[in-house]
């Protein structure tokens, strides 16, 4: 119950103001097609430099939470999912809106998002402390395997191809090794002066997530994306609440599915929504009504994609392993303030950790309230032409990456990585394992080198790295994720890509 001790910290004027700002901004950004939660959080990191660590995290956490929920607005009113996580919501939500029940669909969407989100955050609160304490027993060999696990699981599960996912992870780890070696101060792979200081993680994150999206907008050409916004009529919020209580099954299935999927690194929100929709339909006596504007078809996916948010942060906050691209971006937000997740976070910065988690708890409620209030405005913002969106994101990406260290080198690195990623994405490579490799590579290396030194003084590297129950469990999970992914690939049942879903 330690989190209650820090609950009051969320209510300081600045913290609460940032929470509201992040929530409202996130709802609007989330409703905008093409602006994914990961990209929105990455673009916001430079704005948190001058803030206190807790304040920066409150802003980033609020944006993460509300962009996921905000995507439902355009999914319901425009039939354009704001993010891949909201694809399943489109199936029944938009039909409801077309049938003159847009407000009802939005109310159900935000209420179920809040219920799922609160469930996910409570799960996060329950799990972080014991798992964080457990991580104290990890030595260099276990931490090395943990970092490898983070890259491998994302590479195996998030990409369309296992080999390409793992390859992207290797490229990321190589990028992470560019610059001066920490142990001996030797230059490594510095083939251009811009790389003297290594690859800045924030600039790389902005480039890898924002630039491919900008070029994709260019590739769409001069298109008019003004889909018709369906006008919404009045609907009593009390009736919507009553309807929620009549659909406990959909809410439970959605929340549980989202939470379980969220805790597995690399799986992500789009899968949570679709799996929850599918499972609820199978369990529902009204399964024939799905797709015709049925309430369960909105409640299940929306509770799932917000229930995923809290648990997706468990591996990050306890073991320093970001379980998703957005968690990797949040890790970048922590590192710029000199805070390292894991036991250090909860032992030395409990105020930061708990204020951040509490703000996400409160953010779920604010998101529900503001979501209902500004849904109409958000839907209009979602109609902003792609030309304006692309130009705005490009400007923000350049200013944001420059402001990290006041260095043009970071701008160049951002652009080169982003353009390369755009082309590689066309051929089944994914940014997520690359980012994880970039962030976790240096962690893996420092523990590998430490482990090698200890091994040299003991029984050799093989014994040190490949014996001991924790090492074996971690190696087993790495191997299992690769074998599972290879098996799924051979059966042709790979995780559906964003492009495949949205096409």
């Amino acid at each position: 119950m330690e989190f209650l001790y820090y609950f009051g910290d969320v209510f300081t004027p600045i913290n609460f103001g940032l929470l509201m700002l992040g929530t409202i901004g996130g709802l609007i950004l989330g409703a905008t097609p093409g602006l994914s939660p990961t990209m929105a959080v990455a673009l916001l990191i430079p704005f948190t430099f001058k803030m206190e660590p807790a304040q920066g995290l409150i802003l980033l956490g609020a944006v993460y939470t509300s962009t996921v929920a905000g995507g439902a607005v355009s999914a319901i009113l425009l039939k354009i999912p704001g993010a891949p996580a909201n694809i399943a919501t489109t199936l029944d939500g938009h039909v409801m809106a077309k049938n003159g029940q847009g407000t009802r669909a939005l109310q159900l969407s935000f209420l179920s998002s809040a219920v799922g989100g609160l469930f996910g955050i409570f799960l996060l609160i329950t799990l972080v402390q014991p798992l964080s304490d457990l991580s104290l027993v990890f030595g260099p060999s276990e931490l090395f395997w943990l970092a490898i696990l983070g890259v491998t699981v994302i590479g195996a599960l998030d990409s369309r191809s296992l080999v390409k996912g793992l390859l992207a992870g290797c490229v990321g780890m190589w990028l992470g090794s560019i610059g001066y070696d920490d142990q001996l101060g030797v230059q490594r792979f510095i083939f251009h002066p811009a790389l003297g200081g290594g690859i800045n993680v924030i600039a790389a994150l902005i480039g890898l997530f924002a630039i491919p999206q900008i070029i994709t907008m260019f590739a769409n050409g001069r298109i008019d994306n003004k889909a018709e916004v369906i006008r919404v009529e009045k609907h009593s919020i009390l009736d919507a609440m009553k309807e929620m209580t009549q659909n406990v099954r959909a809410m439970t299935v959605g929340s549980l599915t989202g939470a379980i999927i969220g805790i597995i690194p690399g799986v992500g929100g789009q899968i949570a929504g679709l799996v929850a929709y599918d499972q609820t339909r199978k369990l529902s006596p009204n399964r024939d009504k799905f797709g015709t504007g049925h309430a369960e078809g909105v409640i299940a996916p929306e509770s799932a994609n917000n229930a995923m948010v809290g648990p997706s942060l468990v591996p990050l906050l306890t073991l320093s392993i970001p379980g998703s691209p957005t968690a990797a971006v949040l890790l970048g937000g922590l590192l710029i303030h000199g805070i390292f997740p894991g036991p250090d976070l909860f032992n030395n910065h409990p105020d930061v950790a708990w204020t951040f988690i509490n703000s996400m708890l409160l953010g779920q409620i604010l998101m529900c309230i503001f979501g209902l209030m500004i849904a109409g405005v958000a839907a209009r913002v979602a109609q902003v032409p792609q030309s304006v969106m692309a130009a705005m994101v490009l400007g923000l990406a350049v200013f944001g990456s420059y402001s990290v260290q006041h260095s043009m080198a970071d701008v160049y690195i951002m652009a080169v990585l982003g353009i390369s990623m755009f082309f590689l994405e066309r051929f089944g490579f994914s940014a997520a394992p690359l980012v994880l490799g970039l962030i976790l590579g240096p962690i893996a290396e420092s523990n590998y080198v430490q482990g090698a030194q200890i091994a040299a003084a003991q029984d050799g590297a093989f014994t040190y790295f490949l014996t001991g129950s924790l090492n074996l469990i971690l190696v087993g999970i790495v191997a299992a994720s690769i074998v599972y992914s290879a098996w799924m690939e051979m059966r042709g049942h790979r995780t559906t890509s964003k492009e495949e879903i949205t096409s």
């Binding site: 001058k50 030309s387 400007g395 082309f423």
Partner: protein, 156 residues
């Protein structure tokens, strides 16, 4: 036929490029001294080369899922924007100053990709106002709020 083979050719080029990068990384890792500083790069470059070679071989043999690739039409659409973006990032931002370069690039991108007709005066006024509004927000955020010192502007 060309629609089928174009993405595959592009795939071979992309995976070939990655394989060459992997070989270069492995060469540097294994040939540079002191060896202790390249212990970890040697480990990852070994996996890098194996995976990249496997990807390249699969691409050449047509065994892998190719992905959508880039059609000629898409390339032509994105090229003007990409050129503006490249000039902006690699030359104009430093050469003209961030705010001047961003204004020009923003306006150019709006003009290139805005579906509104170029012949209407209203369209141009709207583009100028949107550009001015965006730049005012950027100046307020970065120059005033975050106090980011950008390279010297050419006009002020």
């Amino acid at each position: 036929m060309s629609e089928v083979s174009l993405p595959r050719t592009q795939h071979i080029i992309a995976s070939g490029g990655i394989m060459l990068l992997g070989l270069w990384v492995a060469y540097i890792s294994y040939s540079s001294e002191p060896a202790a500083a390249f212990l970890f790069p040697r480990l990852i470059s070994s996996f890098f080369v194996v995976l990249a070679t496997w990807t390249f071989v699969k691409a050449c043999l047509g065994w892998s899922k190719v992905g959508g690739g880039l059609t000629g039409g898409s390339m032509m659409k994105l090229l003007p924007g990409l050129i503006v973006a490249l000039i902006y990032v690699f030359w104009a931002a430093k050469g003209l100053g961030f705010y001047t370069a961003t204004s020009v690039a923003f306006f150019a991108l709006l003009t290139l990709y805005d579906p509104a007709p170029h012949t209407a005066l209203k369209t141009w006024i709207k583009r100028i106002l949107v550009t001015a509004g965006f730049m005012a927000v950027m100046y307020g955020l970065f120059a005033k709020l975050l106090k980011v010192y950008t390279p010297q502007e050419i006009f002020f």
